[in-house]
């Protein structure tokens, strides 16, 4: 008979240890998935709640989500807040009666997330809040027989017309990124994991600015062209490159013959060398205009049927061109969220 309470106490102790471990583990899991600024914001919100409640006060928590946060994120944030409040000696109760009701609303403003706590007790109501920058869109990947990969190479505020990489993949040699924008031709040399500016050549425009300027780099010929200006030289040796104004009236870009993809006429596309059993693959962007996010998708076969899942691009694809060698495509797009122009390479891999 005397053994029973002792055994019970030991089991209760082990059980409570397990519970504490599980709670710490789930808190850790919840915390691990959030950016540091979210964690700090939850801590700050707990501080503010603690400042308007009493030590040991029992709070019943109600949570509402009127933002773009997912239900899983809200659940994780709730857990974090409850833990943070417990650390500040506030008792979070699951059942009434509580000393006060804590209504937490996950909201969103033009600046980002706003997390608001209303503490309702007696006749008075306290409102405290914290703000958090909204993260950029989380891309989702789906399984597909053929997969497109987009690798961001460069981004800048000025509109990129074209770009290219010389010396890529050569053993021991450094590579050069060449970016043609509306104002200059820039050469960057590869350094560690980034690009370092080596030289810029300002463009001498012979024509007034256009709203839809197009330009093109021909790395093999050592030539960059855009309306009213031209640059020539050996692009392997940037110091030899010079730019001058010209008086051509037409854009350097010769429009490619439109092709029909799934019933729509497509002007901008890039034909890549065969991959994954297809003789050739055609990459094309979406159907919206320049105010919408876009996508790039591969099409193959005689009927140009879809051969990959689309990959999302956070803004319109402005240029889509075959890269030398035909294994990937050069893509210039504009990120509608940040406003910057992005140069990226899109390549294909097979899922076997």
């Amino acid at each position: 008979m005397r053994l029973l309470p002792r055994l019970f106490l030991r089991r209760a102790f082990i059980f409570s240890l397990l519970l504490a471990f599980a709670a710490a583990s789930s808190e850790g899991q919840a915390a691990a998935q959030f950016p540091p600024d979210w964690m700090n914001a939850v801590g700050l919100l707990a501080d503010k709640i603690a400042a308007v409640t009493k030590r040991g006060e029992g709070l019943s928590v109600e949570v509402k989500n009127i933002s773009s946060l997912s239900a899983a994120d809200v659940d994780g944030l709730r857990q974090l807040l409850v833990t943070d409040l417990s650390r500040r000696n506030r008792r979070v109760l699951t059942e009434s009666p509580a000393d006060a009701v804590l209504q937490v609303t996950f909201s969103e403003s033009a600046d980002g997330y706003v997390w608001i706590a209303q503490i309702l007790g007696g006749d008075k109501e306290n409102v405290v809040m914290v703000s958090v920058a909204a993260p950029s869109h989380r891309a989702s990947t789906k399984e597909a027989p053929l997969t497109l990969h987009r690798k961001l190479i460069w981004e800048q505020d000025t509109k990129i017309l074209d770009f290219g990489i010389l010396g890529e993949g050569t053993a021991g040699g450094s590579s050069t990124l060449i970016v043609l924008d509306t104002d200059r031709l820039s050469f960057y040399s590869s350094e560690d994991k980034g690009w370092k500016l080596a030289r810029t050549v300002d463009l001498q425009h012979g024509r007034a600015a256009q709203r839809d300027v197009r330009g093109r780099l021909d790395l093999q010929a050592g030539k960059a062209e855009l309306p009213g200006a031209e640059c020539t030289g050996d692009f392997q040796h940037p110091e030899t490159v010079t730019c001058s104004s010209i008086t051509t009236s037409a854009d350097p870009e010769t429009p490619s013959q439109p092709i029909a993809i799934q019933g729509r006429s497509v002007e901008d596309y890039a034909v890549l060398a065969g991959a994954c059993g297809d003789d050739s693959l055609t990459l094309a962007s979406g159907t919206g205009d320049w105010t919408e996010p876009d996508f790039i998708q591969a099409y193959g076969g005689r009927n140009l049927s879809a051969a990959s899942q689309p990959i999302q691009v956070p803004g319109p694809v402005l240029e889509l061109r075959r890269k030398d060698g035909g294994k990937s495509a050069r893509v210039v797009s504009r990120n509608l969220k940040t406003g910057v122009y992005e140069a990226s390479l899109v390549s294909v891999s097979c899922d076997d």
Binding site: S109, V114, V127, A209, Q262, R264, E267, W290, T291
Partner: protein, 397 residues
């Protein structure tokens, strides 16, 4: 593996065929004349000139933004006409104007060659012209947006960014003034105004910022409470007779004012509406107006305020600067580095004063023809982006 591939490809094809609209090529084209119709009968495009109504002031600001490249600190346009994306090529006061693309514009020549603007076109005629493809672009009053959609007009609706509010003119102070304001604020049926007058294009307003901007509007109630309004009104003795003013040229303000009078009557409040002479300023007009020489005393008036920025701090600051002197609000500054919490408490203190009663948030609505491409609904504070649009076909028909 092959079967899985086939199934997968078949699925993609079906999804794309169903989802992707068959639209023409997307690279912008230069050329063509954009046909625009507006309601205001502008007599001048001079930025220093005075507009005679709110509608004129708004239209002038939009058109000046196409002609001038620079703004002064107070938001008015300065510099040389034609320094903007367009130049004035013909002008017939109150009737029509033609703008030509500025080929030397620093941000690039606009895509369209010209804009042909017809002035003084009533809202109903604008909708009909859009329906008949006689115009490419026209602002539509929010209360007519649903009707335009039903008639097959292509409509672009912004986030709600224009506040219609009732402002007490600070003539009654003390406990009695507070009670009067609270009774009026509680008796207004905002949901009915949105549903019936605005035809569901808008949302009830409880605060000075819309939800998409501040994220805190749920903290400001918008429900009507006739019982409490009656109770509060019964405590005021003797019951005053109140006058609510509205802009005589604004049919929406008139409808809302008349609705508020009906709501007030249900709560036993003695309130009548009176038309006031139009004010050319975008900000609210004088405390007292006059019609045919007779002075009109008003206790409150309706005002419309467009957000100058999507950012809550900036919009609240501008609203306070505009309404503060009229309503007699003193010392409610928004700090330069205000946090969302600071903005909320500033907004809360103004709401607690009861001097401003937000009624509804309204969107900006535009009708567009099918050939207008790259149209992007301007954000709060932005002008019409007519330099960025292009025409799919230069032939209007």
């Amino acid at each position: 593996m092959k079967l899985r591939l086939c199934l997968c490809l078949a699925t993609i094809s079906v999804v794309l065929a169903g989802a992707a609209p068959l639209r023409p090529a997307r690279r912008p084209h230069y050329g063509g004349a954009l046909r625009v119709e507006i309601g205001a009968t502008l007599q001048s495009l001079d930025p220093a000139g005075v507009a005679t109504s709110r509608e004129e002031a708004d239209a002038k600001a939009e058109l000046d933004a196409l002609l001038y490249d620079q703004r002064s600190e107070d938001g008015t346009f300065v510099g040389t006409a034609g320094s903007g994306p367009f130049r004035l090529s013909s002008w017939e006061a109150g009737k029509r104007a033609t703008f030509a693309a500025n080929r030397d514009y620093s941000e690039g020549r606009p895509f369209v060659d010209s804009i042909e603007i017809q002035l003084g076109r009533p809202a109903h005629d604008r909708v009909v012209d859009l329906e008949l493809n006689k115009t490419d672009f026209a602002p539509i009053p929010p209360e007519q947006a649903r009707q335009a959609i039903d008639r097959g007009v292509r409509v672009s609706v912004s986030q709600p960014n224009e506040l219609l509010a009732l402002v007490f003119l600070g003539s009654r102070s003390g406990k009695e003034g507070t009670r009067i304001r609270e009774a009026i604020a509680r008796c207004i049926d905002r949901a009915a105004i949105v549903n019936f007058i605005l035809q569901k294009e808008g949302e009830p307003a409880g605060g000075l910022l819309p939800h998409w901007s501040s994220g805190t509007t749920f903290l400001f109630p918008t429900e009507m409470d006739v019982r409490t309004a009656k109770e509060i009104w019964s405590q005021i003795s003797p019951s005053p007779k109140l006058v609510l003013g509205y802009d005589s040229t604004d049919t929406l303000e008139q409808s809302v004012a008349e609705r508020i009078v009906v709501n007030a009557k249900e709560a036993g409040i003695s309130l009548v509406s009176r038309a006031l002479p139009a004010s050319g300023k975008a900000s609210p007009g004088p405390v007292e107006g006059s019609t045919r020489g007779a002075a009109i005393r008003v206790d409150a008036r309706l005002v419309r305020l467009r957000m100058p920025s999507p950012l809550p701090r900036i919009s609240l600051t501008v609203f306070i600067n505009r309404l503060g002197p009229i309503a007699g609000i003193v010392d409610s500054p928004v700090p330069q580095s205000a946090s969302p919490e600071d903005v909320y408490y500033c907004e809360r203190s103004i709401m607690n004063s009861g001097l401003i009663v937000p009624i509804v948030w309204m969107p900006q609505v535009y009708g567009l023809s099918a050939r207008v491409r790259d149209w992007k609904q301007p954000a709060a504070g932005e002008g019409w982006p007519l330099a960025d649009v292009w025409l799919d076909s230069t032939d209007p028909q």
